[in-house]
Amino acid sequence: MEKEIAVAIDDLTVAYNYKPVLWDIDLTIPKGVLMAIVGPNGAGKSTLIKAILGIIKPIAGSVTVFGKSYKKQRHLVAYVPQKGSVDWDFPTTALDVVLMGTYGALGWIKRPGKNEKKAALEALEQVGMLPFKSRQISQLSGGQQQRIFLARALVQNAEIYFMDEPFQGVDATTEKAIINILKLLRKTGKTVIVVHHDLQTVPEYFDWVTFLNVKKIATGPVKDIFNNENLTKTYGINYQVSIQE
């Protein structure tokens, strides 16, 4: 049976100063996959996510989410930016940051109330950060900050999650904790798209993969397309990675 399509990207092209960063990307992401986007530095992995989410304006192309334009479907999409993209010295607490995840559903002007707070506390609990809810965010470790960002996305209760390098600079325990949550999301039918750096862990963590280097090289199930041929095409000549069968 054909799977339902969560995200469909058509002819997406992004350029900075005439230099193409993403070139004519066509990509369909089926519902319910846990997908890695891999590629070398400068391949446009983060840019792809940002262009899908409208943070960066593409010069061409369209994005649809469950068959409708992304702008109409924002409420179905959650985003976890790179940890380094914000100033963690901002005067606020962990709970407050997670509460921000509820702002989209609230819309303009309305303030978060009891229900929102309850949802935020649950999300904190889920990522194991409940004891730190009142902690000033600059006093959290890198891994804890990443969990807070994850909790903020969880509280959005979305169908599709985009994550930009959630494993960057976190320790092994946090990485395990995060991937377990992502797998749990997939189990409940959510779609999770992750910009990922560590090729060794791709077969273990993900069931779907997209190779990207300015152009889309390949996309599909990890077991079918995660091979040396595609890795070489993406990363250059003679790239080898030991793939465990």
Partner: protein, 360 residues
Amino acid sequence: MRTITIGTAILGAVCGMLGSFAVLRKQSLLGDAISHAALPGIAVAFLITGAKDSNTLLFGALISGLLGAFWIRAIITKTHLKSDTALGLILSLFFGVGMLLLTFIQKQPNANQAGLDKYLFGQAATLLERDVWFMAIVTSVCVLVLLLFWKEFKLLLFDADYTKTLGFNIKFLDALITSFIVVAIILGLQTVGVVLMSAMLLAPAAAARQWTNSLAVMVGLAATFGAFSGVIGTGISASYSNLSTGPVIVLVASVFVLISFVFSPSRGLLFKEIRFRKNRNDLKLHKTLSFMYDIAKTHDEISHPHTVKILNNFQGFTKKSLHKLEEDDLIVLKGGNWSLTEEGFFKAKNLYNQHIKTDD
């Protein structure tokens, strides 16, 4: 005098409030650029209308301030120049044009100069009651809008990209904040002047940031610091003749900053240094104590005395640190010998366990 004091207090409060947003949005220099950009507006308004009336001139300032602000935005988004470059460019360009026009006006026969140069460094004495009323109204509108869009502003300040993905129009929010900053600056031109205006925005906010980890408290504190700077500054300048008010207010605000940098309990330099020394001393004592424990545990009796010299071979210690340990009842010193007390033994044992725990 009362009018002036109230005026500067309101001005300080609104600047402190909005300054917090500028600081957190990493646009500390925006205020500086905008206030300098307002100068040519004043000159042009005078040239066109010939009026000396401050409302007309400030309206000119508003127009050119806004123009400058949105040029800066445009430069940052359309070109790949960094924001400090854009700010510097606009600041000097507008200020240069403003100064040029001012010198031109000064040579005109009709212009006994409307005292236009008062806008350079401000002159609080020229504040009228209606100016203060106007300030009060603008400030109330500001507070209302801040309260209304509090959630959105907070989100934007912390994570602008994320704000966008939630469907909020960040261009609108940004324009709103920038417009308010422009308005606050225009309000302050008459009192503090073009050159020092940015200090009114930044100083209270920078001081407030030292004392709190909550955005709401920070904004409130900044407003309070700003208001007090206004009141105290006006008071000081009134009690000495010929001291111009604007610079005094700015100096008072800077004193707030200085005090905050040194004395804030969590971020201040003083307490940081105290904590650092305390930690270092504690660590030294712990090191000696755990070494004593290593020796003592090989004996049946905890309080078996050992010679102080034995420590010397392996472990740096000072008379002072031994005395400190004795003071805390962790060891007993007798002649050239030391022995652990029961309390000391257990403390050392726990230190030791903790050490192992964190190791694996």
